[in-house]
């Protein structure tokens, strides 16, 4: 146990350093917790400024003491390599740990420990935490909007059937694989539209008519995103090809179309579809609000998709065009069989980002008076019986949207890997 040099922790006194390091580190955390959650300052005898930083200083001393190279303990080496390479890094690590404790503890309290889960009225919420009763009571409204309770099975049935049709493409036999694009781009939208028209909207086959104004909640989010997604892709593709066309008329009309939609905010486009569009229709014709919104979002996102796809088209080497032409392929065969499959592969991340943006833009349809999930939240929080629970609502919606968007982006990363071919 001779020559213990505190400034240079070494392997000889490993245990000593480890014990003291851990002790100091825990002391720092302990001091912070006492300060923050119990309002007891054990280092109050020090001047205010130093006392404020004691957790950080203790933590840094602790991490300094355990910074031993090649200690032979696997966990310790990993720890040192990842969060504790030098004093600066140690300081950052301690700050982050303190920040995490600082934010996670109150959040945990709010989310779970102090929250209320049981009951069916506002009175059940007594704790200081979240009132999940509110979400429970309003759950049906958040999912189905103003859709009549007795008819909600129709929405569920439609979604299950559409999902079934979407999944069906996965089981296509190899012989039919070449019709897959056709299936997804033309067959599926038609089937879904018919389903939604007859099953959700109703009015025939003895089903009660439910006007689109009553649709809402998360199901409306899905309906709007689904149709916009399906339509914006082919339109965007045509625009991208049009922008690179040799025909001046096609080229400049696509160009101005794309630049126009990319230059204006979606909210004004929706305004336009709500206010201006009906003015241009002949008297007596009426296009449903929902359809107008879907068309507006589709055209808006199609312009963005077009730019993404154009990036992919530009990235392809000229040789691909020349080779395909030398085989005698015409414009359409060249693009459909050679260029687009390669270009689309390259821009999967970009397309996924556009699709994510589309899903995240759907709440904007509140400007035309359609209430999807976020709109329903805003309606619910003004209900006099349930005032003061806006936080719970927004957190709930945030989690739902996060799950949707995060899984979409993870899926796109998987697709990207799957289609990645080294060139």
């Amino acid at each position: 146990m001779n020559n213990v040099n505190i400034l240079k922790p070494n392997k000889e006194n490993l245990n000593l350093f480890l014990v003291f390091g851990a002790l100091f580190f825990l002391l720092g955390i302990f001091d912070f917790c006492l300060n923050n959650f119990y309002e007891k300052n054990i280092t109050g005898f020090l001047p205010g400024f130093i006392s404020f930083f004691t957790p950080l200083i203790f933590g840094m001393i602790g991490l300094h003491l355990i910074r031993i190279e090649f200690s032979g303990i696997k966990i310790l080496d990993e720890l040192n390599k990842n969060i504790n390479t030098n004093n600066f890094n140690a300081a950052l690590s301690v700050s982050i740990i303190i920040l995490i404790i600082f934010s996670v503890a109150p959040l945990l309290n709010w989310f779970i420990l102090d929250a209320n889960f049981v009951g069916d009225s506002k009175e059940a919420c007594t704790g200081g935490g979240a009132c999940w009763v509110y979400i429970k009571v309003w759950f049906n409204r958040f999912i189905y909007g103003m859709y009549p309770n007795a008819e909600q099975w129709r929405v569920n049935a439609t979604f299950i059937i559409v999902l079934g049709f979407m999944g069906l493409g996965y089981f296509f036999p190899l012989k039919l694989k070449k019709y897959l694009t056709f299936y997804y781009v033309i067959f599926l939208p038609i089937i879904s539209f018919l389903l939604i028209y007859y099953l959700i909207s109703g009015g025939e086959f003895g089903l009660e008519w439910v006007e689109t104004g009553a649709w809402g909640g998360l199901s409306l989010t899905f309906i709007v995103s689904f149709f916009s997604l399906i339509f914006c892709f082919p339109i965007g593709m045509m625009l991208a090809l049009g922008r690179r066309s040799d025909l001046a008329v096609v080229k400049y009309s696509s160009l101005s179309f794309i630049e126009f939609w990319r230059g204006v905010p979606l909210i004004t486009v929706l305004f336009m579809s709500a206010v201006m569009f009906p003015m241009f229709l002949p008297d007596g014709t009426y296009v449903d609000k929902l359809i107008r919104v879907i068309v507006a979002i589709t055209l808006f996102e199609a312009a963005y998709t077009a730019e993404v796809i154009r990036g992919g088209l530009q990235a392809l080497p000229r040789g691909q065009y020349d080779a395909a032409k030398s085989l005698g392929m015409g414009y359409w065969r060249l693009h459909l069989l050679v260029i687009l499959p390669q270009a689309l592969k390259l821009v999967i991340p970009g397309i996924a980002n556009t699709f994510l943006a589309l899903v995240k833009d759907t709440p904007l349809i509140f400007v035309v008076g359609l209430l999807e999930l976020v709109g329903m939240l805003n309606l619910a929080k003004t209900n006099p019986k349930w005032l003061g629970f806006s936080m719970e609502g927004y957190v709930f919606a945030g989690i739902i949207f996060w799950i949707i968007c995060y899984s979409m982006s993870k899926y796109s990363q998987k697709l990207e890997l799957k289609f990645k071919t080294d060139r």
């Binding site: 990319r262 004004t268 206010v275 805003n378 806006s390 945030g398 949207f401 968007c405």
Partner: protein, 348 residues
Amino acid sequence: MVLNLDLVFLSKEASFDIQFSLIDYDGSMSYGRAYLVGLLNTLLVSFIGIILSTILGIIIGVARLSPNYLINKTASFYVEFFRNVPLLLQIFFWYFAALRALPMPEDAPLIFGSSYMTIKGLYTVAPVWNNFDIFFIALIIAMIVIFFFNKFAKKKQEEEGKQYPKFLISLGIFIIIPAITFVVGGVDLSWSFPELKQLAKTSFTYEGGMGIPPELIALTLALTLYTATFIAENVRAGIQGVGKGQKEAAASIGLTPSQVLKLVIMPQALRIIIPPTTNQYLNLTKNSSLAAAIAYPDLVLVFAGTAMMQTGRAIEIVGITMATYLTISLAISMFMNWYNKRIAIQEK
């Protein structure tokens, strides 16, 4: 159907009030003036948002490349969380949930000895200038001098290989020339602090200082936190996009680490970072139109909302609004294209 387009309404009296305005405005002024107020409010929130999100984005982007596991993971958690939640939801969250939990004006604690964060907004110190125009002219002169000095220094370096401490001298010029105006130009700066004032028995407010409405705070917060995630990803991609060989080559010819970063990595990384970041700036500007949802008086709310309801001139107003956004978008993208061209590789 006949469309009769008519812009005369722009000079008519607006007769509605706007809560927050950068220029003098009241209900007796024209619709044209209301349009200007809305436009300035939009530009204000976009400008603040662009600056803050760039700073935050760079910090987070660099943090995501940190070898420190904790920092790296915290930064990616932030990015993954904030970019996967709709912006409108975030705006609503900050405005209706988070900022509503703040104390009433009379209970608000003093922050940094000068500001109060209340449910009615942030009240903070405001500068009170005397002869601000002279100070402003001095600032412009300082910038011109710095511009010519840098040109001169670059020329000297190319001709004689002589290096000036450019940054320090520029900073000196930037401080000294405006400072002179305080001594000789009669420029004077004092601070006005907010003070609590009782309006009625239970109603309080702050007078003096600068009041920033909660709408602006919520909007800026949401826009910044949301856009910064995208900028962070761009920064990360840009720095990662510079080949490892570049760094090693630069080090092997004897450049110091800071020189490697400044002269080799950053110029190349910026080329990758700038084009997608321009798009984010454009997005931020367009997204600022979501302000209408929380009644921040921006262009869409003031002009495409209130003014349209009152005049009924839907086509003209939506047309003007869209044209304005198109102009802003094109202006930003032209500026960034110019900058991008300036730093692009000069290929032989």
